[in-house]
């Protein structure tokens, strides 16, 4: 039988959600012939759940992605309708940017970008099979191509799977079950079998979304209005800050109450999760309202955010109240919430179940261990959220491209970015529920701030080839300016003279006994670089982003230094690479469990090995000593 070959390219990307778009753009921009497959071209970069991008720790991901050369930050800057820096009352580590998107516009803009990228082809088709040849020598399956539903074959060197929630998807709304992907879109029902046949281990996860309501049926007078920031900070480091100072729309805050909770409790038996109909595991940190009521039984109210879905629609998203209860219960439940007494539901809340992989089958490069040329990203890897998906799609895409170009993979480690934390957690820890990014997951968050993502990652983006010379030079220059100004302030003496004392008194700051340095004064909580301008007449004119860094670097100097020390410790064992041909059975003193886990996970570094559950610190010491001997013998 002759093969029905449609095309021969470098990379095939399966899925055009947030992960697939980043993967395909990265590959094409790196000059590889790329095809991106989607079941519906109209659903490119679809936001089937919340109408926003960013938020606590997710905002960090978007900025990091942007620093590396991804698209999400630029796209939301073009399409946001409200923007807010969260947690500004707290320390800089937890500041996080969140923007409300015009969903349709977001989708349309991303599609436009895809359509206008060289080397990139969009193809509407369901991929049913991935094609691989077994290679005796390496013991790996080598990627050959993909087959679409009608039998057509696209030959390629690498495949990136970003199937999101579409694989064998089914949506549940109480007793009503439909076999569709999100938003009633066609599910992908063939690929799972092909993956299983190739030995990929699958599991089933679930997630959910709340109802959308007709704006005209909502009484906003009973809610608190939530405005955007007066001065909007763009997501992308490449966006001109002036271009994002637009008229913004409002969101609204209201609360559930005991009555809401009572209705939910009385109908729990009709919830597919509590009735045991849903087999998939849902995200603990993005719980449905049923989960919240059960889990926080002592709370008499929960927040509900009413957010617009876009400028050209009346639909409003009911944040915080996702549910899989039947429609009649949903109506009752929502109508107990102040302002929603007469609400009309446009789209019901529902839960969705889908196939995804066990991500321990992946290396931190997001390459499958058992395959050469197979990569994956997004919800397919067991994560949840647009931002989590996008960064993985990017990393998977970049590494697929590098594989084709025979380059070493790029891995961001835990000390370099939330991206590193996210991927390391996914591939190293046992994840039993959709993985959501959270601030607390990052050990070094004072260093991994959203404000310095460019300083942390631009260089890597430049080396990958997705950051221009000009963008890179800008960051190098910025770094210099920051360093120079910090040094200047550390050496700038401030005398305990009359002018100083008067200034301090005016700002409710303790007077000086002896002279000090400007940097010391900046450390006082009540003072800052800006306030101290009066005592520092000769200061140079600096861009706002430089001043921001100078402020943070000086104010939190001690903490930053201590965290840097922690990172040094971390790097020491993170940089101890484990050779891929290591045989753990050779190491007599490793405990059996550790030996099995290490053989399964194939960690690339001692650091990664130390994070595998079941591998104890004692095992790690054994490994360290063993490797020392191993490398010595190799020399």
């Amino acid at each position: 039988m002759t093969e029905d070959i449609r095309d021969e390219v470098d990379v095939c990307v399966v899925g055009a959600g947030h992960a697939g778009c980043e993967a395909a753009l990265a590959c094409a921009r790196l000059g590889l012939e790329t095809v991106i497959f989607t079941v519906s071209v109209d659903s490119i970069a679809l936001m089937p759940c919340n109408p926003n991008v960013g938020g606590s720790s997710k905002g960090h991901l978007v900025r990091e992605l942007d620093a590396l050369g991804g698209e999400m930050g630029k796209n939301i800057d073009k399409t946001f309708i409200q923007s807010k820096m969260l947690n500004v009352s707290k320390g800089p580590a937890v500041h996080s940017l969140r923007a409300q998107a015009d969903k349709q516009n977001y989708s349309r803009e991303m599609r436009k970008t895809l359509e206008n990228t060289d080397h990139l082809t969009i193809k509407q088709a369901e991929v049913c099979e991935i094609l691989a040849d077994y290679d005796e020598a390496s013991g790996q399956q080598i990627m050959k191509g993909v087959k679409i539903y009608n039998g057509g074959i696209y030959k390629c060197k690498a495949v990136v799977l970003c199937t999101g929630t579409y694989l064998n998807a089914r949506c549940l709304c109480g007793e009503s079950i439909t076999y569709t992907g999100p938003n009633g879109l066609q599910a992908a029902t063939h690929l799972t079998d092909s993956l299983k046949a190739l030995g990929i281990e699958m599991q089933r996860f679930k997630t959910g979304t709340p109802a959308r309501m007709d704006k005209r049926s909502i009484d906003f007078s009973k809610m608190e209005e939530q405005f955007g920031d007066e001065r909007v900070v763009p997501f992308s480091f490449s966006t001109d800050p002036e271009s994002v100072q637009i008229d913004q729309v409002s969101c609204w805050l209201t609360y559930t109450n005991e009555k809401t909770h009572e209705i939910i409790r009385n109908n729990l038996d009709r919830s597919p999760i509590y009735a045991g109909i849903i087999e998939g595991t849902g995200p603990r940190y993005c719980p449905s309202i049923e989960d919240k009521v059960v889990k926080f039984a002592d709370k008499n109210r929960h927040q509900v955010f009413i957010e617009p879905e876009g400028l050209y629609t009346n639909e409003m998203y009911v944040g915080g109240m996702s549910s899989s209860l039947p429609e009649d219960v949903q109506i009752q439940m929502y109508r107990t919430v102040p302002g929603l007494e007469h609400c009309k539901i446009v789209r019901n809340a529902y839960a969705i179940e889908y196939d995804c992989i066990k991500p321990d089958q992946l290396y931190p490069s997001l390459a499958f261990k058992k395959f050469a040329g197979l990569y994956s990203g997004g919800q397919f890897n067991g994560s949840s959220g647009y931002e989590e998906a996008a960064v993985q799609g990017f990393v998977a895409g970049v590494n697929a491209a590098r594989y084709v170009q025979k380059k070493e993979p790029v891995v961001i480690d835990r000390s370099q970015g939330y991206i590193g934390v996210l991927i390391d957690d996914l591939v190293t820890k046992e994840n039993r529920e959709p993985y959501r990014m959270m601030t607390s997951r990052s050990e070094y968050r004072l260093l991994l701030r959203q404000d310095n993502a460019d300083l942390r990652l631009r260089k890597i983006g430049y080396e990958i080839g997705l950051i221009t010379q000009e963008q890179y030079d800008y960051v190098v220059k910025k770094e210099e300016l920051i360093q120079k100004e910090v040094t200047r302030l550390q050496n700038l003496k401030i005398g305990a003279n009359k002018k100083t004392q008067e200034f301090l008194e005016k700002h409710n700051s303790a007077s000086l006994k002896t002279g000090t340095y400007m940097s010391e004064l900046m450390c006082r909580p009540e003072l800052s670089y800006e306030i101290l301008a009066e005592l520092d007449e000769d200061r140079p004119v600096l861009p706002a982003d430089v001043i921001e860094q100078v402020n943070i670097n000086i104010k939190y100097d001690g903490y930053i230094k201590r965290q840097q020390k922690q990172v040094e410790q971390f790097k020491k064992i993170e940089n101890k690479k484990i050779p891929s041909d290591i045989d753990y059975d050779d190491i007599g003193s490793l405990r059996l469990e550790a030996r099995q886990k290490l053989t399964k996970y194939k960690p690339i570094s001692v650091g990664q090995a130390s994070r595998i559950s079941g591998v104890s610190p004692a095992d790690i010491s054994v490994l360290l000593i063993y490797l020392e001997t191993y490398y010595k013998n190799k020399q």
Binding site: G91, H302, Q303, M438, R562, Q566, A618, S621, V622
Partner: protein, 466 residues
């Protein structure tokens, strides 16, 4: 297959005895090539494991030294490899010459700590044990390696685990509040955290204080010398100290008031208990009473019972013997230079009469502190008891290790920074950095935090031959 390493395992000095340790697949073969019996035969390839042999080291018909060679085959050896130890007469020149001969026959010189590293890699010991061994080596105990059972355990471990739990609980609470501010509030939390930090600080300071004491005491065999007045206890003591030119540390006034002197006998550290009584009145039993003596014996790992062999045993001896039941004892029949009325069999009979068959195997040595006879044998007996595991170091674990103490100090400093941040009203993501540091420092004490430099440090601190 491992390459074979060799090194001098004892301190290089003109001491009475030196040991060259050889470990690896070819250890037996290599030593066999240079070792002959009195009859001139090469036998080591055929001897059973864990045997010791008398003979000579020779190289091309030149006799280098008269030696005892012990053969311990894998896996029941220190490194879990084939190990051969050559006990020679010592002296820098001869010892080096033997080592050179061993190297000439195919072994390579071991790196510092390499024997222990191999023991570790082969699963013979874990890291805390390795560290305990290092402590013992630093206590200048040549036979300390045999005491690898005595590892960090017990009280300190439990204590640190408890403190860590308290710290991690707070860290977890802060993290959950950062993630879910809607449901978990940090309002008023700083007061609570301050209290916890203060409490933990207090306990850490207590541990640091203990560590300071522990450093003085080091680890050693708690030994008590008992006997009637004039049996010759203090002259024995003086003789032992004098003979060995041992390290004598006066650590009076430390918390453990029962320990007065620490000395080294044949390479083994002994903590002499209650020597104060001996010095002053020569009569423990009378001065401090039977009750106190009993208490001392109770605590001791080893009891040295000095008997005046020139006078008959009496009721005082009777009461002393009764206290010895169940203890590890060496009986010294002292004053052998005089006409003796107490001889070994009589002593054994008397012991059996008093406390039954419990101490049938008890070791009895005739000594004369005056003539300096029998002391070597006494020393051999102690060494033998230690070798065979009959006695071991005291179990009470104190923080004796500078690194562990450093870790405690680090934890303390980190918690002080937490307090500072709380006072400065810094947000939670700042003080959690130092809380985490405190947690990690505590973890490094009990081996829950593995840092590469720690592993390297532990092995690099070993001296050559260990």
């Amino acid at each position: 297959m491992t390459d074979t390493i060799a090194a001098i395992a004892t301190a290089v000095s003109n001491a009475g005895i030196s040991i060259i340790r050889v470990s690896g697949s070819d250890a037996v073969q290599i030593v066999d090539e240079i070792f002959v019996t009195k009859g001139g035969k090469h036998i080591l390839n055929h001897v059973a494991s864990h045997t010791i042999h008398y003979g000579f080291i020779q190289e091309q018909d030149e006799m280098i030294d008269e030696v005892m060679v012990s053969v311990m085959k894998a896996p029941k050896s220190y490194t879990a490899e084939d190990v051969v130890e050559i006990n020679c007469h010592g002296g820098v020149l001869v010892t080096n010459k033997i080592l050179k001969t061993v190297l000439a026959h195919g072994a390579r010189i071991a790196e510092p700590g390499e024997f222990t590293k191999r023991a570790f890699l082969n699963g013979r010991i874990d890291l805390t044990k390795a560290e305990a061994i290092m402590d013992l080596i630093e206590a200048k105990s040549d036979y300390a390696l045999k005491a690898s059972e005595n590892q960090l355990q017990g009280k300190i471990y439990d204590e640190v685990v408890k403190l860590r739990k308290k710290v991690i609980y707070e860290i977890a609470f802060i993290e959950s509040a950062i993630d879910d501010p809607e449901h978990i509030s940090l309002d008023g939390y700083t007061e609570r955290l301050m209290q916890v930090v203060d409490a933990v600080l207090l306990e850490i300071e207590e541990l640091i204080k203990n560590a300071e004491n522990g450093k003085l005491i080091k680890e050693g065999i708690d030994t008590v010398i008992v006997g009637k007045p004039n049996a010759g206890k203090s002259s024995l003591l003086n003789r032992m100290l004098g003979e060995e030119k041992a390290i004598v540390t006066d650590i009076a006034g430390t918390t453990r008031d029962i320990i007065q002197e620490s000395m080294k006998l044949g390479g083994i550290s002994l903590n002499l208990i209650d020597t104060a009584g001996i010095h002053e009145t020569d009569d423990v039993v009378e001065k401090i009473g039977v009750g106190k003596a009993k208490e001392c014996i109770e605590k001791a790992d080893l009891v040295v019972y000095v008997v005046d062999a020139s006078v008959p045993l009496d009721e005082s001896d009777q009461s002393i013997i009764e206290m010895l039941s169940g203890k590890k004892v060496i009986v010294l029949l002292n004053k052998s230079d005089m006409e003796t009325v107490v001889y070994e069999q009589l002593m054994r009979d008397r012991i059996a009469e008093c406390i039954g068959s419990d101490m049938d195997q008890c070791r009895i040595v005739s000594t004369s502190t005056k003539e300096k006879t029998g002391l070597k044998e006494f020393e051999e007996q102690i060494r033998d008891m230690f070798f065979t595991g009959e006695i071991s170091f005291n179990d009470e674990v104190l923080i004796t290790n500078a690194r562990q103490e450093r870790a405690l100090v680090d934890a303390k400093e980190a918690l002080c920074l937490v307090k500072q941040s709380l006072e400065d009203e810094m947000p939670e993501d700042f003080y959690s950095i130092d809380l985490m540091n405190a947690y990690a420092s505590l973890g490094s004490i009990i081996g829950e935090e593995v840092e590469d430099d720690l592993v390297q440090e532990i092995f690099s601190k070993f001296c050559m031959g260990k």
